[in-house]
């Protein structure tokens, strides 16, 4: 019991310190960034029509010229009380804006993450266990292409094929154009999510497939597999008994680390598909100098990525009895 408590406290401590440093670094970067929020949000020609007095007032609103430390302490003071502040751009509470955007983005990212993980592992195993076969080479080749393709280009390509030429799927947005929200069904939302999910998962597959393949090849060339083959075990049996167990650890690590990649990829994807998610909001907040919103998004993504790694850590124990024993031993000492 105390073991679990210790572990939880340890992880919690890590999370707190991570959030602290991430927020500090983000704040510092924003302060040093050359983005002038007035120029970015009002535009050069608006500024031209404003009086100097009004420009001064706006500078105060956007926090121009307020020392970095003062702004940071004001923000972190609120954050510790659970107050993320008010978005300067949207003029609503950051937590509400985040909720809206997360609701759009989270299922997209989760679906892409699950699909890319599943297909990646599957294809990696096939390619690794049949390294020299036609299928193995084909997977390898496709994987290489997928790694080299820029995400937004793939998104455009899929858009042109499925939305423009074939007309099967919508050209963007998360709901049908002009339809009132009461009439929007889950099938509509799903249809609008297919292309973004497909793009996100396709670009995620290759890295996981390659790592799995690499490990699988190593396993297939090992003495114990040679022995298993000599014993007459079928390929499936070898994969199940020796392959899966050995590839699982690195694959789990990689798959959970891929959360950050999916997050980054969604920024580009949402632009192409006019999809109103967290990625678009992050771009707007960053370019527009909306510090509270940007900090909110950064915190959320830091928590997501951290949780991913933590889950991977916990899973190690479940997957690998050796590690479990080691931890237990360490706990006892």
């Amino acid at each position: 019991m105390s073991n679990i408590l210790k572990l939880t406290l340890y992880q919690l401590g890590r999370l707190v310190s991570l959030l602290f440093f991430v927020s500090l670094a983000t704040f510092a970067l924003v302060s040093f960034s050359p983005v002038d929020p007035l120029q970015a949000n009002l535009g050069q020609s608006t500024l031209g029509a404003l009086s100097a007095e009004q420009i001064e007032r706006l500078k105060i609103y956007w926090g121009v010229g307020i020392p970095f430390w003062e702004r940071y302490f004001a923000w972190i003071g609120g954050f510790l009380q659970g107050d993320l502040g008010i978005s300067l751009l949207y003029r609503r509470e950051v937590s509400i804006v985040l909720q809206e955007k997360l609701a759009n983005s989270l299922w997209l990212m989760t679906a892409a993450w699950v699909i890319s993980g599943f297909l990646g592992i599957l294809l990696g195993i096939i390619a690794g266990s049949k390294e020299h076969s036609l299928l193995g080479r084909l997977i390898n080749c496709c994987g290489l292409i997928m790694t080299s393709v820029p995400t937004f280009w793939l998104a455009l390509l899929l858009l042109v094929i499925f939305a423009l030429w074939l007309g099967w799927l919508p050209i963007g947005l998360s709901v049908p154009i002009g339809l009132e929200s009461t009439a929007v069904t889950w099938a509509d939302r799903l249809r609008h999510g297919i292309l973004p999910i497909l793009t996100l998962s396709l670009t995620g597959i290759s890295s996981i497939a390659f790592h799995t393949r690499e490990k699988m090849i190593a396993v297939m060339n090992s003495d114990y597999v040679l022995f298993a083959k000599a014993r007459g075990d079928s390929l499936w049996r070898i994969i199940r008994r020796h392959g899966l167990r050995n590839i699982l650890l690195p694959t789990v690590t990689l798959q959970f680390a891929a959360i950050s990649e999916i997050f980054g990829g969604s920024v580009l994807i949402e632009q192409v598909f006019s999809y109103p998610g967290l990625g678009q909001a992050a771009v707007k907040a960053g370019l527009g100098g909306d510090v509270p919103l940007l900090l909110g998004i950064t915190m959320i993504s830091a928590i997501l990525v951290f949780s991913g790694n933590m889950i991977a850590n916990i899973l190690y124990g479940c997957l690998d009895p050796r590690m479990r024993h080691q931890w237990q031993k360490a706990g006892r000492q």
């Binding site: 050359p34 002038d36 120029q39 009002l42 535009g43 050069q44 020609s45 608006t46 031209g48 029509a49 404003l50 009086s51 100097a52 009004q54 609103y61 751009l89 949207y90 003029r91 609503r92 809206e100 955007k101 759009n104 599943f118 297909l119 599957l122 096939i126 455009l156 858009l159 499925f162 939305a163 423009l164 074939l166 007309g167 099967w168 799927l169 919508p170 050209i171 963007g172 947005l173 709901v175 049908p176 154009i177 002009g178 339809l179 009132e180 929200s181 009439a183 099938a187 509509d188 799903l190 249809r191 297919i194 079928s234 192409v272 006019s274 999809y275 109103p276 998610g277 678009q280 909001a281």
Partner: protein
């Protein structure tokens, strides 16, 4: 074994294909297309803070009619002032108070009557909170009775009617911090739905006090350039903004709609010699500035850079009521070169002119994220060779652009529906002896512009603005190149009446008169 893999993959992909095929028809809109229209506007046109005039809905970089709310005045097609809610107005002799009478038959969409109290509340709130509206000249607003309101100003401001055209009136009773999400107004349309980051759906206000809109449902989707183009190609929108580089690649069933604008691009020419921080030794020469003004072939620039989709510009406010038509100059390369010869700019062996120790050399800067301005910088640099002026061009970030423009030539974009822009460009900045964006000062022109602000009538103020412009035209502290036309793909059959000149920025201006759009049979 192989069969198993195959089945697994197929199981995974099947739903995607099923959905793709099954719901092809669901794409089609379910409303009656006869009186509905779908418009694609840039993502940047979406008002982040919602449809709240207090926070800049309808105002700012891109001034447009707020549609959901009524304004006191409106700008007409020729940018003169007309009335919306107002029925009469009068300014006091000292120019400090404006009395405005308003209609008594106007109701908000929630059924409440719009009174002078709501007007006073709106202006006092805008004054207190506003972001992009400049109301520093307003002291306070008071409602005398239900139909009369008085604006008390800090200083005379003859162009006040233009400020009144920017502010949608909100109901005092229903105004709160969430107003932008659920706007209640008295305009031609009411907001049905706003899917943030994607689209808004507007419906005609059947109780509107003016002409009831013909277009009953207006759907506006927010997309970037490429997505809007795809939407046209996929036949999913009726009107979509586009840019000149796409204009040659139309889609079946669409035609190109060109909207005239005052969305200008121009160059500042620092008018004082370099003093260590400000000024430029080359452009401080008056003859050289005048030579550039007549020595640049604006038409060629428009052909080369804007693919022909633009109009030559000669001021920051072409075609506005305060525009002085004498600003227009003819392109004359020979005269330009003669000006330079006479002023002592001698051509060297390499064809570059020199006057005493000063080499005719310019560095034209442009905002690095703006490809159009980059192309303009390159084209101008190229054309300046004909004058014996050597020009380089360089992209800079906005963080340094303003400061650099104090000594270098920058490609600017302006174009507002108010003479204040001209004022801020040419007039000396407060507590400074030079103008704010590019070093220049002309005391007589400044006095004329100050007089224009305190003039007793708009007509009189227009004349004074024009006189100030005439003086500025002798100095050429800025040279204006082109007004960029705003381009749209328009579905054949959609009838769009003529529009007032669009201001800077591609945005809501196109829907200013959406209530009068119609479909031909």
């Amino acid at each position: 074994m192989r069969k198993k893999y195959f089945t697994m993959i197929m199981l995974f992909l099947l739903p995607a294909f099923l959905f793709g095929c099954a719901s092809q028809e669901a794409n089609e809109l379910t409303v009656d297309r006869k009186d509905a229209v779908i418009i694609a506007l840039p993502s940047t046109a979406e008002p982040e803070a919602g449809f709240d005039p207090v926070y800049g809905w309808g105002a700012g970089e891109h001034v447009h009619e707020p549609l959901l709310q009524s304004t006191l005045t409106v700008t007409n097609e020729d940018l003169t002032i007309g009335y919306d809610l107002a029925t009469d107005m009068e300014v006091s002799a000292n120019g400090l108070s404006w009395r405005v009478d308003i209609r008594n038959d106007v109701y908000f969409t929630n059924g409440d009557r719009l009174t002078a109290k709501d007007v006073a509340f709106t202006y006092n709130t805008v004054k207190k909170l506003s972001t992009v509206n400049d109301f520093t000249m307003l002291d306070y607003t008071e409602a005398i009775n239900d139909t009369q309101v008085i604006f008390h100003l800090n200083k005379p401001y003859a162009i006040w009617p233009y400020s009144m055209a920017n502010v949608g009136i909100v109901p005092e009773k229903n105004y709160n911090s969430g107003y932008g999400l659920n706007p209640v107004g008295s305009g031609r349309y009411r907001l049905v739905q706003w899917d943030k980051g994607q689209q808004v759906i507007l419906e005609a206000n059947e109780n509107y006090y003016g002409e009831i809109p013909k277009m009953k449902r207006v759907i506006i989707v927010f997309m970037n350039e490429a997505a809007a183009y795809t939407a046209v190609k996929a036949n999913q929108v009726d009107l979509a903004y586009t840019v000149a580089s796409y204009a040659d690649n139309g889609a079946q069933g669409y035609h190109l709609l060109r909207a005239a604008t005052v969305d200008n691009r121009g160059l500042n020419l620092p008018a004082i010699p370099f003093d260590g921080t400000k000024g430029n030794d080359v452009t401080s020469d008056l003859a050289l500035r005048q030579a550039i003004n007549i020595g640049i072939d604006r038409q060629a620039l428009i052909e080369n850079v804007l693919y022909g989709y633009g109009q030559a510009a000669y001021s920051v406010c072409d075609a506005m009521p305060w525009f002085n038509e004498a600003s227009v100059v003819a392109y004359d390369l020979a005269a330009a070169n003669a000006l330079l010869d006479d002023a002592g700019w001698q051509k060297g062996a390499d064809g570059i002119r020199q006057k005493e120790a000063v080499l005719a050399q310019l560095n034209i800067i442009y905002p690095a994220d703006d490809s159009l301005r980059q192309a303009i910088a390159a084209e101008v640099a190229n054309q300046l060779q004909n004058l014996g002026i050597k020009a380089t061009y360089e992209g800079v970030g906005w963080d340094s652009a303003y400061e650099r423009a104090q000594r270098d030539v920058l490609v600017w974009g302006w174009g507002a529906h108010t003479p204040m822009e001209m004022y801020n460009i040419y007039h000396r900045a407060p507590q400074d002896d030079l103008a704010i964006y590019s070093p220049y000062a002309n005391e007589t022109a400044d006095q004329l512009m100050d007089q224009a602000l305190t003039a007793d009538s708009l007509e009189h103020s227009f004349v004074l603005w024009q006189e100030a412009q005439a003086l500025v035209n002798e100095d050429i502290p800025w040279v204006w190149l082109a007004n960029v036309e705003h381009l749209y793909w328009c579905r054949d059959g959609l009838q769009i009446p003529s529009q007032k000149i669009h201001p800077h920025g591609h945005g809501w201006s196109i829907v200013n008169n959406v209530d009068k759009w119609s479909w031909s049979e």
